[in-house]
Symmetry: D2
Subunit: 333 residues, 4 copies
């Protein structure tokens, strides 16, 4: 950590700060850089919040030198994390495809979709039972009934299933049916939920928050890993920007950036990332070219009649065409 001081800082102020830091065993060192006084400290205890020193009028800025996350970093573990779910290996080099409807709407709907995506090449089935909806008047999901249908569709197709968990009360219930637990964008910083899922033995997909920096996202993953769960899959799904043509702005540069910073696998969700089904195909291919470990795609047998996210869902036929293109792409990458 570095503490830069105002050029108006007095010798007495500098000495007092130095002594205060020395008492805390932070090994302070004073330098002159570009005409400014700078104090470096060795921060051994992560719970110490040195940024509070900015409360002193003569402290200009507290600048961290090292990264705030550890366990999820490449420095901590230099080879890629591979997660096995049934026969599916995530992070091992082969691109994995999660597909299915936004929400499970009926047994027929999830069955039809499951068989269609399986045949086209999907390796994991998705389907929401508890839906986080912006409006209290929107369809909120079928709850356990949806979980039962999803698990049944997984069983019949042989696909592992993933579903979102929003509430710590539902953990036991969801764990009964799901192979992978999904933490949605809105809950990326729901630390209670993170702490509970850290204690589970199930893989967790952690979607990036709408307004989360890469650093905050990795720190949310650090909550899981520090709590004991290292089976973490990150998923980029678009961030909020000023652009309104798309629902979100899909930040594909997060893929190679995360690959450089962390050993965790990273997926991309171009359905939420764009909010427009016509953009899903090109952005899915772009995600693969950028180095993603997998994709998460919304597929619905009749998108215009979907209870949610229909406008960004592919038909089974469009999904099939995309899968073929991805296969060709993956072959040359």
């Amino acid at each position: 950590m570095l503490i830069t001081l105002s050029i108006n800082a007095t010798t007495e102020q500098i000495n007092n700060l130095y002594n205060n830091l020395a008492e805390k065993k932070l090994n302070p060192q004073v330098y002159q850089i570009d005409g400014q006084t700078v104090i470096s400290v060795e921060k051994k205890d992560n719970s110490l919040e040195l940024v509070a020193l900015e409360a002193m009028g003569f402290v200009e800025k507290v600048i961290p030198i090292t990264k705030p996350y550890k366990l999820v970093s490449k420095e901590y573990k230099n080879h890629n994390t591979v997660i096995k779910v049934g026969d599916v290996e995530i992070g091992s080099g082969k691109i994995q495809i999660i597909a299915g409807p936004c929400a499970v709407e009926s047994k027929e709907q999830i069955m039809e979709t499951a068989f269609a995506v399986k045949e086209a090449g999907a390796t994991i089935l998705r389907g929401g039972a508890f839906k986080p909806r912006t409006s209290p008047y929107s369809f909120q999901g079928l709850g356990e009934e949806g979980l039962i249908y999803l698990a049944e569709a997984g069983r019949q197709t042989g696909l592992p299933v993933i579903t979102e968990i929003m509430d710590i009360k539902d953990i036991e219930l969801v764990c009964k049916y799901a192979d992978i637990l999904q933490i949605g964008s809105r809950n990326m910083q729901n630390y209670s939920l993170l702490r509970e899922l850290a204690a589970m033995d199930k893989p967790v997909m952690l979607k990036r928050g709408l307004a989360a920096t890469l650093e905050e996202w990795l720190l949310a993953a650090e909550y899981l890993m520090a709590g004991g769960n290292s089976k973490i899959i990150l998923c980029e799904r678009g961030i909020r920007t000023f652009e309104t043509h798309t629902r979100n702005t899909l930040d594909l540069s997060a893929v190679p950036a995360i690959k450089e910073l962390s050993h965790l696998p990273i997926f991309v969700d171009p359905s939420h990332g764009t909010g427009k089904w016509k953009l899903v195909k090109p952005m899915a291919k772009a995600a693969v070219a950028a180095g993603a470990d997998g994709l998460m795609l919304e597929v619905h047998p009749q998108p215009s009649q979907a209870y949610s996210d229909g406008e960004q869902s592919l038909t089974p036929n469009n999904f099939k065409i995309l899968m073929e293109e991805i296969k060709r792409l993956a072959a040359v990458l």
Copy 2:
């Protein structure tokens, strides 16, 4: 709702869509506006997601005409909501001041702060016991011990107390000690939490999410009100933008905008809104001038030694000076 169609839409497509909408009893009407075909529908059932129609290639855009929230709107209730907490009236025209430390750190710290802010003119005491922290290694709050100290400080000073609740597991516990429940920025769209607090008989302060539009914020409040709790206090605390000089960008225009859209009272938190104690004073005054019903301010006896948010906390003395300035300001507004 309006559905605008592509100029390439065929008569058959338009007829099919019309019939489909008519079958759903949506009373479709077809118009030509600026050379484009537009269909209006009467949307009686809010759970219907017409935006899914954009999944049809020939549908250009689905445009809502009416606001998506109801109970929290000015159209629903034309006079301001006033919330009584002990002797304190929120929303009645008198500016209320919530003050106290970010986190309760010890009995001494909260007691000292409570007496200082009370004497300077604060009317509600704040203090965190469960802290949502970006890093798992940061101080996470004293838990129940913190709640006990906070309640005791409230009792001794006669100030009602407010504290953040992060987890539905803690509701009973927090309700035992707190007079107002705070939903933090990160949990604004934690719908499980919203649903549970909607069933409580306590006032709830709902902070604006870091990346929430006014509409999404009001929809989160709608969750509370639709669930039965109408004692809602909104609190603007800064949104995330590209500017990094301040921790967040305090969106003060939200104050008059919310006043126009809703009957709910709105507070402003310039401590989180700016992240810099030197900016808290001017922005607190600006918030009052913009029409806020109250302020939420972080005060710490020794900010540079605080466990969290020290850099944005006022000393008791700076708080006192600000209170005097606010009094003069309020007198002319």
Copy 3:
């Protein structure tokens, strides 16, 4: 255009507005949609600013139905614009690669780079002579000297050259040396410059503004086309968001979105889009997979010694490797 009225609008207010619109020959029609009064108008004259009607207290919102741009739209021209520069065809399906240093620094530097990128497969040479720099103390470019070297490097390698123009005073000068004129991000809404370049017979590359929506970007292109110049190449180069890990956030979804809205070719600049050379390779490949017509890449013989943008420049060797990967990719797309 649609004008939605407040539910408190009186019959007299509605009648007055109706009459006012009728007098202006806007063919107003009054509807009731979802319980709200809505007036549609036929807006023939684009200079009319109906949004000003929001100044009336009882007008809620003025909603445009049709797109504000025309000549650049797909509705106006249904096949892709192809631009010929020497032997190079832009927009015809073959991916074109613009490469070279951010700034021309010396004759040797631009010559060395030009031969290297040509050999690796670049088809157009870039190099800045007038540099828009955030600080007045940064290197501002060699001016005409730089143009002379750039043109010479173009001649010797047989590559057409592109360079940025910042000032209408320099148009004649730059046109003497350059084959394509570049309008930088900061000047996307410099309407004086747009109007002057609209009168030139040279192709113009219009970079997206840092904070420009797709609509504003296309409207800037509309200035060029309405002024007579239809040889326009759009270039996505990253937008400004809250994320600070990358210099900008490269919005690759702009590529398929623009392809749907407009007939103009679109390039991607992953150098500025990421600001980090390690991210340039994956994002260049992603851009191609997303459907870009070409790439713009910064290449410098010794990036760490560059006068500008060194941190985001590829070495000739890294550029060569990337070109080979792009070739393989393009073959399967």
Copy 4:
């Protein structure tokens, strides 16, 4: 400047970098901070772009210690800049009010407005003759005719006048009529224009760019001051964020922040900052409470018929009411 190195940097790499920096007379010093190697350098020559060192794989980050601007900083000049325009003193403590229509539309319109705002208490008259419009089909201003009317209205009311300049070709013309030159938001980083206006003897109002950080804004002002013009008035007018309820997000915290960083006066434009006339009044008062040196307000005799910005313009009567409120407010601040 500080250069932080990767923990994988080899001794040879560190030595080579050290020698390279020493050769450039940058006085490198090597430290170990928090287990990481850090090199500090003394950067005397501002044109040197050390960030290019990030092009080396083993360099993690180049961190500036000192501010990049000088002449506009508080460190350079510790007392506030006061600018005299006729009898009006800007920055001296008295709040100055710039008012008038967005665009001069006719002689009658500007005359009527000028007398109305003068009587209500405005001290400077605004009116656009050259308008930067997003669409080429919108009203672009009356040009010199508008300047003539504006100057005449200024003469008759005794108010100094301000108008926007977009094009270096128009400098002589605009200088003939205007007392203060305005650089609009879109041109904040039009360095050609900045350089030309730096050579003028007229005060310049520099509006903040839509997506400009405080640092970039001050660097744009540095262009003016380094070029010889120190009569600079900054004007906050809203930044672009994800929120769409308002046209922009008015960043009032920029006011006290700029006051801390710079000696230049700062105004606020709540008309553009909000885009909604109903929000202008509360935000104007908030700006004054935040410490602004003045306001810029759009006033039109008949906003709903305005050629531009009608929706955010005050009527003369609303302006008068606001002026009275501001007077009362200013008295207690």
